[in-house]
């Protein structure tokens, strides 16, 4: 088996195994830490797909930012262990049905599409192309994304700040 395929299967196993723990573990802390494995596996797959910049951003943003925030939320909401797995309002049979339909549709789409395989692309740094695209054709979405992030930041601060009660609040 060539080395690339071996690496792919290892990363895929890491990603899917951790994802299963995230979705099905009874302990919230295990779920949160298993998310680390999924993010690392996906970052490795990005690197395997010659997307070096996206892989580094994945590690910095998802693991350094989002995962830490989720862990904060886990620690700040107590009663970690006694989480029910089952969803009483939907039930198992509709859940399995929806899963089967979603999985089958995606599988059929992947299976029936006629994939045009280009010649093996060169492995080269992607930062140049990404920078050119962000400052060229994608400049408006790029600026809009920064506005969205700013609004989200302010919104998060406003939502989660401590409410003043008493004479100060009535002001």
């Amino acid at each position: 088996m060539p080395l690339e395929a071996l690496v792919f299967y290892l990363l895929a196993a890491l990603t899917i195994g951790s994802a299963l723990i995230v979705a099905l573990s009874h302990n919230l802390v295990y779920s949160a830490f298993a998310l680390l494995g999924t993010f690392m596996g996906v970052a490795g797959l990005y690197a395997l797909l010659a997307a070096d910049f996206v892989a580094v951003i994945q590690v910095m943003l998802y693991i350094g930012g989002i995962l830490v925030l989720i862990l904060f939320a886990v620690m700040l909401t107590h009663r970690i262990a006694d989480v029910d797995v089952s969803n009483r309002t939907v039930g198992r049979i509709p859940a399995v049905l929806i899963l089967g339909v979603v999985g089958t549709v995606m599988g059929v789409c992947i299976g029936t599409a006629e994939w045009v395989q280009h010649a093996e692309p060169m492995v080269e740094p992607t930062t140049f192309g990404i920078g050119e695209a962000f400052l060229g054709p994608y400049i408006l979405p790029f600026e809009l994304a920064s506005v969205v992030l700013l609004v989200a930041l302010i919104g998060a601060v406003v939502v989660s700040r401590k409410e003043l009660r008493g004479p100060m609040a009535d002001g």
Binding site: F8, A12, T15, I16, A19, V22, A23, L24, L28, S31, A32, L35, T38, F39, V42, L45, Y46, L49, A50, A51, V54, Q58, L61, Y62, I66, L69, I70, A73, V74, L76, T77, V83, D84, V85, S86, N87, R88, T89, A95, L99, V102, M106, G107, I110, W115, H118, P121, T126, I130, A133, F134, Y138, P141, A145, L149, A152, G155, V157, V159, S160
Partner: protein, 100 residues
């Protein structure tokens, strides 16, 4: 080179696991993490197709998905903490009122 379809199948499996988490779990933080799984699955297919077509656009879209995910996490976790402070629960079955 690993065929693109393998990456897409892996992405599909990851997305399906995310849907499983949203459907089966009642803890709002687990649902949140499952949404992150689904976003990651979509990003993976974007990058795989960018590689497949030798085009940079897929990777650009990944950055926008990531920035939306970051915004979603910041606001969503603030809302979760606020709800927990008010209602003392993270079970979505018990969160059936818009205000209290």
């Amino acid at each position: 080179m690993v065929p693109t379809s393998y990456h897409l199948i892996l992405s599909g499996i990851l997305f399906t696991i995310g849907v499983t988490g949203v459907l089966l779990r009642r803890n709002i933080i687990i649902i949140f993490m499952s949404i992150e799984l689904m976003l990651n699955a979509v990003n993976l297919s974007f990058v795989a197709l960018a590689r497949h077509f030798g085009n940079m656009d897929g990777q650009i879209i990944v950055f926008f998905v990531m920035s939306v995910a970051a915004a979603e996490v910041a606001v969503g976790l603030a809302i979760i903490l606020l709800v927990f402070r008010g209602r003392e629960t993270v079970n979505v079955d018990e969160l059936n009122l818009m205000r209290w």
